[in-house]
């Protein structure tokens, strides 16, 4: 293996890191809002909206992300009505199409995770909050949601990593993020192994940091579940046999 070339490749591909991170963070931010809205609708919304939310999740989880991206980027421009609408300046940009596809996709997957989290919060919590005089919205925001977040975080961390990997598909609609640059470099230099190793290393590093961040957030959110550190040594129970 040619290490100077490998190092040079890492530097070339690093130029794509900001775009990858921007795609990921922006679509996660929008996706979380979609996920919570859809999950809440499926649990407490009116019947018709429940069905609509269910259908949305079914469609976006049942089709490949790449098809969704092509449908939005290449497909929508087919219609004159779209081309002449006020949305066209946004929808003709590959960046916003990628954001739209990624957000809708992660929103659908995320809504299943959030729904599981919301369902894990006991009914009594909500009832108690209402009995204290909280409005349904306040009870949701202060009581139910924080507990659901705590429950859903590990699974959502997984979804974040999947989304981070999914941003690579944006290269298929002309965006030059890490994978786009890697594909260009492969066709320029024909040195597949080195380029793959460099791009893979960058993605692994990003995902490693992401895993640590999620673990840190999980640690902070579950502080109440850890035994309290008193600073005193544990009592010696070898002779008394008492349970500490």
């Amino acid at each position: 293996m040619d290490f100077p070339f490998l190092w040079q490749t890492v530097q070339t591909l690093s130029a794509g890191i900001p775009l990858t991170l921007l795609l990921a963070t922006l679509s996660v931010s929008i996706g979380v809002v979609i996920a919570i809205t859809i999950a809440a609708t499926r649990l407490w919304g009116p019947r018709a909206l429940q069905q609509a939310a269910k259908f949305y999740v079914f469609v976006f989880r049942g089709t490949p992300l790449l098809v969704q991206m092509f449908l939005i980027y290449y497909g929508l421009g087919q219609f004159e009505a779209v081309r002449s609408s006020f949305l066209w300046p946004v929808l003709r940009e590959p960046f916003w199409c990628a954001i739209l596809a990624l957000s809708l996709n992660t929103g659908a997957y995320g809504s299943e995770i959030v729904r599981g989290g919301l369902q894990s919060v006991g009914h009594g919590q909500r009832e108690a909050a209402m009995a204290c005089g909280m409005s349904p919205w306040l009870a949701f925001r202060r009581i139910v949601l924080p507990q659901a977040v705590r429950q859903a975080l590990p699974a959502y961390g997984n979804e974040l990593i999947l989304l981070c990997k999914a941003t690579s598909l944006a290269s298929m609609i002309t965006l030059m993020e890490i994978t786009g640059l890697a594909a260009k470099l492969i066709s320029d230099t024909y040195r597949v192994i080195e380029v793959f190793a460099a791009a893979g290393a960058i993605y692994l590093a990003i995902n490693f940091v992401l895993t640590r961040l999620v673990a840190f957030a999980d640690h902070r959110l579950t502080a109440h579940l850890r035994p309290v550190a008193t600073g005193k040594p544990a009592p010696d129970t070898r002779l008394t046999g008492a349970k500490p």
Binding site: P64, V67, F70, G75, K165, A183
Partner: protein, 238 residues
């Protein structure tokens, strides 16, 4: 000129693309199925290495799953598609053949998908094996079963029952991932839609049709998987 509408394009008539799209659906199933089988085999070996292997084998299997779960699948497909052709060319040069040898897109795509899904399979198999009650295995060996009988009659069916939901998930993921194989030029569903979109300039209709066909396939496999799960759990009390 009046452009053909959605149903004219998706018909079985002379200008209809329905036959081509249905054939492409079969190709999607073939690519995904081949990749799934490769992934299942490799995944079983990885799970075995993780459960029974020494420190070296365990380390290799652990690194494999960590790396493959952290790298985008598109990169893996590029590696196999471009890298595979290069390796083949070098290999053939060793046999005295001068010239470029192309690794077929189908083989490269199926292998790439297989390698990716192997990491997912391994985790499913390992979890399923762990879920088997050790008492069952102890009872079987106490009764005097040989190691191979024990594996075939006790461990395998019980592991299969626990693994089935996870394997179904991996199949759905593999199915959707097979759309990425379109970059290798294999005429599967998405590639066929791209061809149709290019030649009729009606991209929405074609990608919409591809999405519907994908949805039908994933929905259909979901039904079959649900049925299989009920079949294998029929011995369980409810």
């Amino acid at each position: 000129m009046d452009r053909p509408g959605f149903f004219d394009l998706m018909s079985f008539g002379p200008d209809g693309w329905a036959p081509a799209l249905l054939q492409a659906t079969l190709m999607t199933l073939a690519v995904a199925g081949t990749g799934y089988l490769i992934g299942g085999t490799l995944g079983a070996l990885l799970a075995w290495a993780k459960l029974r292997g020494g420190p070296v084998l365990r380390g290799i299997a652990g690194t494999y799953t960590t790396v493959l779960r952290g790298i985008p699948d598109l990169l893996v497909i590029y590696l196999f598609y471009f890298g595979g052709s290069m390796m083949l060319t070098k290999l053939m040069r060793g046999f005295g053949y001068e010239g470029f040898v192309d690794l077929p897109g189908f083989a490269a795509g199926a292998m790439a998908i297989g390698v990716v899904s192997a990491a997912q399979h391994a985790e499913v198999f390992r979890g399923a094996y762990r879920a088997v009650n050790p008492g069952e295995i102890e009872a079987a060996s106490a009764i005097g079963m040989s190691r191979s009988t024990l594996f075939r009659r006790i461990v395998l069916p019980l592991t299969a029952r626990h693994a089935l939901p996870g394997m179904g998930n991996v199949w759905q993921i593999t199915l959707k991932e097979s759309a990425l194989v379109s970059v290798t030029g294999v005429v599967e569903l998405l590639r066929q839609a791209q061809i149709g979109a290019g030649s009729t300039r009606q991209p929405f209709y074609f990608f919409f049709a591809a999405a519907v066909l994908f949805l039908v396939v994933t929905w259909g496999s979901g039904l079959i998987l649900g049925r299989a799960e009920r079949h294998f759990n029929r011995g369980l009390q409810r």
